[in-house]
């Protein structure tokens, strides 16, 4: 296995899928000649040409809708949003068109397509460019929401998302693009809807997705030094959620902390902790704890930005609390 970056892994997934299926094309701002705002599509224009790698004007609602129409007509669009902050302009096409098309047409039309791009908090870019909005999409029937936390998952999940026959919201993480890890070469698929146990442990379950998976793993190392053996679970697909893996873990550890970068109110953590309460109540020895982004827009100043985001220390503290160790 070669060690490559998260962005190269995404690139491999797209290139492999475009090699095997002519219906797949990539469209978005700066994806072609500029090689991608985050260089995820590096070299793809040279390889596939302007028919299949298409630079758009800055017109999110328009090209999201174009992708919806093209998918209804039988193509398999990959629509890149430079970041998910800008997808807010395209919300109508995602929520009112793509998500509902199959249902509203009695199964006649569907939108097999991937909307992808960088999401989550970036670094030092203030309120409009730094936010985690996966809970918006996870709320909607008709969508799948996928968020890889490492290079191998990035490759396998993106390939699976492109082959999937539904609309997939694929949220990458800007801070993770440069992460390097071993990634299987050639065709590699990670099935959607399957969580992954990133670290086995017996005392407490930490559930975290995207960039927060790394934070949870770091917290687990610290907890180990303090004599607490944490299990770290990455759902990988947010919707639909592989809750069985989470519940099995909680049945073993009897304690859980759910971590997310996004805001607390009606967030992903709210849903997961509700599910643990509904389905695993008898297994719990303590209320489920949540570590989330603070309930504020993202500030620019370095110290304030750090305060706004979840930290490894907060995860450690929450885990200690549910283990009655504070």
């Amino acid at each position: 296995m070669a060690k490559i970056t998260y962005r190269e892994a995404l690139n491999q997934a797209m290139c492999n899928e475009m090699e095997r299926d002519d219906r797949v094309f990539l469209m978005g701002e700066e994806v072609a000649e500029y090689n991608g705002a985050y260089k995820v599509s590096q070299g793809m224009l040279d390889r596939f040409g302007p028919r299949r790698v298409i630079d758009t004007p800055i017109t999110e609602l328009g090209f999201a809708g174009l992708g919806v129409g093209a998918s209804m007509a039988g193509l398999r669009p990959i629509i890149e949003f430079m970041t998910w902050n800008f997808a807010i302009l395209a919300m109508d096409q995602i929520v009112n068109a793509a998500a509902k098309m199959k249902y509203m047409t009695g199964g006649q039309y569907s939108c097999p397509m991937v909307f992808r791009g960088a999401g989550g908090a970036a670094a030092r870019v203030s309120s409009q460019h730094s936010q985690a909005l996966e809970n918006w999409y996870a709320n909607i029937p008709g969508l799948k929401v996928v968020m890889p936390s490492n290079p191998a998952d990035a490759k396998g999940l993106l390939a699976a998302s492109i082959r999937d026959n539904d609309t997939v919201i694929f949220i990458e993480n800007e801070i993770n693009y440069g992460d390097v890890a071993e990634v299987p070469e050639g065709e590699y698929i990670v099935p959607l809807g399957k969580a992954d146990v990133k670290r086995a442990g017996s005392d407490v379950t930490l559930v975290a997705h995207s960039r927060m998976t790394g934070y949870a793993l770091a917290a687990a190392e610290e907890l180990a030094r303090q004599g607490i053996d944490a299990e770290v679970i990455d759902p990988r697909t947010i919707r639909p959620l592989d809750e069985a893996t989470i519940l099995t873990s909680v049945a073993k550890t009897n304690r859980a902390v759910v971590i997310e970068e996004g805001w607390r109110f009606a967030g992903i953590g709210a849903e997961i902790s509700a599910r643990i309460m509904e389905k695993g109540f008898d297994d719990l020895d303590a209320p489920v704890a949540r570590v989330t982004g603070k309930d504020v827009p993202m500030p620019y100043a370095a110290n304030l930005e750090t305060l706004a985001l979840p930290s490894v220390a907060e995860i450690v503290e929450a885990a200690r609390a549910v283990c009655n160790r504070n």
Partner: protein
């Protein structure tokens, strides 16, 4: 595909008769290649013994009857829908297209069945003109199992993939980017299909429309943007909503040419739409066709339309009605008598009544349909679980 075979055979007959009977058969024959390896030839009007000539185009008696009957069918169908709504058999929003029938029918006559079409919620007339099953359309209005989308959409969301009719969209302007997506797919596959993307005089003011004009022109997508300018968006007259009321000019900044058409004249709609389709199909990019028209009824069934005068409505209704106009042309040309038209109307009303009866006799969707058609690739072990609560 059967359709292509029928077309080819028809075309061969036309070509042969053209040579055998000089003066019969006209127009340029353009060959269009299709991806399935078949070939088809663009539609052309034939001079028969009798018919009508409009601006140099000839319409056979058969074609005239077909267009007339479909316009009248739509009119009576909408009236029936209005009646059923009054009886509370149809729920929610219901937008009728009385007065706008010439657009539905003239466009369809000009288009190929393989061309894509999508519009707003004012969609009954268009889907009927495309040739979808009227009973399924009525059943959809009634929320029945045999509705064209299984009772999931109602009045606003008519779709028929077999007829290349892609809605039926309830968000004003939403179908316009989707429409250029179909055009993009057509260009991507080089299959010469045109996307007929319809919007209203209100919808034209959505930003998505201009995003779409720009991309369609930039990439020369085969799209005909049709604006049904019925002068009102709900209760807002065009002059209260649009700084530039000549909507066919709205593409100027994007180099999208436009033309204005009398949308109350089915022959003119057919003629201009044919030009527009040829423009788009030949690879020259998108074009705007502004159809001047009027809706006789309120915006939806709940709208008494007090924002306009009776005089204004009458001016269009009695002065410019598209059905009366074609009837008069046909009577004047000796192709039909008024009496025969009255008889025809009776037949159509009867047909519509029986369609409504058949639709009403259908059961409501099975409760299990609630969970159908949300996701294609269901993932059994993951929550929300397919087909169940919690």
């Amino acid at each position: 595909m059967n359709f292509y075979l029928i077309r080819i055979v028809r075309k061969m007959i036309a070509i042969i008769s053209h040579w055998l009977l000089p003066g019969y058969g006209c127009g340029i024959i353009r060959r269009l290649s299709f991806p399935n390896g078949g070939a088809m030839v663009a539609k052309q009007k034939q001079v028969k013994a009798k018919g009508l000539t409009h601006e140099g185009r000839n319409y056979s008696v058969e074609t005239l009857h077909k267009m007339h009957d479909m316009m009248l069918y739509i009119r009576r169908f909408e009236e029936k829908a209005g009646q059923m709504y009054g009886l509370k058999k149809i729920g929610g929003f219901c937008h009728l297209c009385n007065g706008q029938e010439a657009i539905c029918v003239g466009m369809e006559e000009a288009a190929e069945p393989t061309d894509y079409m999508m519009t707003s919620y004012r969609d009954h007339g268009h889907i009927l003109a495309r040739g979808s099953d009227p009973t399924a359309v009525m059943a959809e209005l009634l929320g029945r199992a045999g509705g064209i989308v299984g009772g999931k959409g109602g009045s606003m969301h008519m779709f028929d993939i077999e007829k290349n009719f892609a809605g039926g969209n309830g968000i004003v302007g939403e179908q316009v980017p989707i429409g250029i997506g179909f055009g993009f797919a057509s260009k991507y596959r080089d299959d010469k299909r045109v996307s007929i993307t319809i919007m209203g005089d209100g919808g034209i003011n959505q930003g998505a429309v201009y995003e779409s004009f720009n991309m369609a022109a930039l990439w020369k997508l085969p799209v005909v943007f049709v604006i049904e300018n019925n002068q009102y968006a709900m209760g807002t007259s065009i002059s209260r909503a649009s700084a530039e009321t000549h909507l066919f000019k709205r593409g100027i900044s994007f180099k999208v040419p436009g033309m204005q058409v009398d949308g109350m004249d089915v022959l003119e709609v057919e003629r201009k739409m044919s030009e527009a389709l040829e423009h788009a199909r030949s690879g020259e990019g998108p074009i705007i066709v502004e159809m001047m028209t009027y809706r006789y009824r309120g915006h939806s069934m709940s709208d008494p339309a007090t924002y306009r005068t009776r005089g204004e409505v009458d001016e269009w209704r009695s002065g410019r009605d598209p059905i009366a106009r074609l009837q008069k042309q046909m009577v004047d040309a000796g192709l039909m008598t008024e009496e025969a038209f009255k008889q025809k109307d009776k037949e159509i009303k009867k047909e519509v009544a029986s369609v409504a009866k058949a639709a009403e006799a259908q059961p409501e969707p099975d409760p299990s349909a609630l969970w159908d058609d949300i996701i294609t690739d269901e993932i059994p072990g993951a929550y929300p679980y397919p087909r169940q609560v919690g």
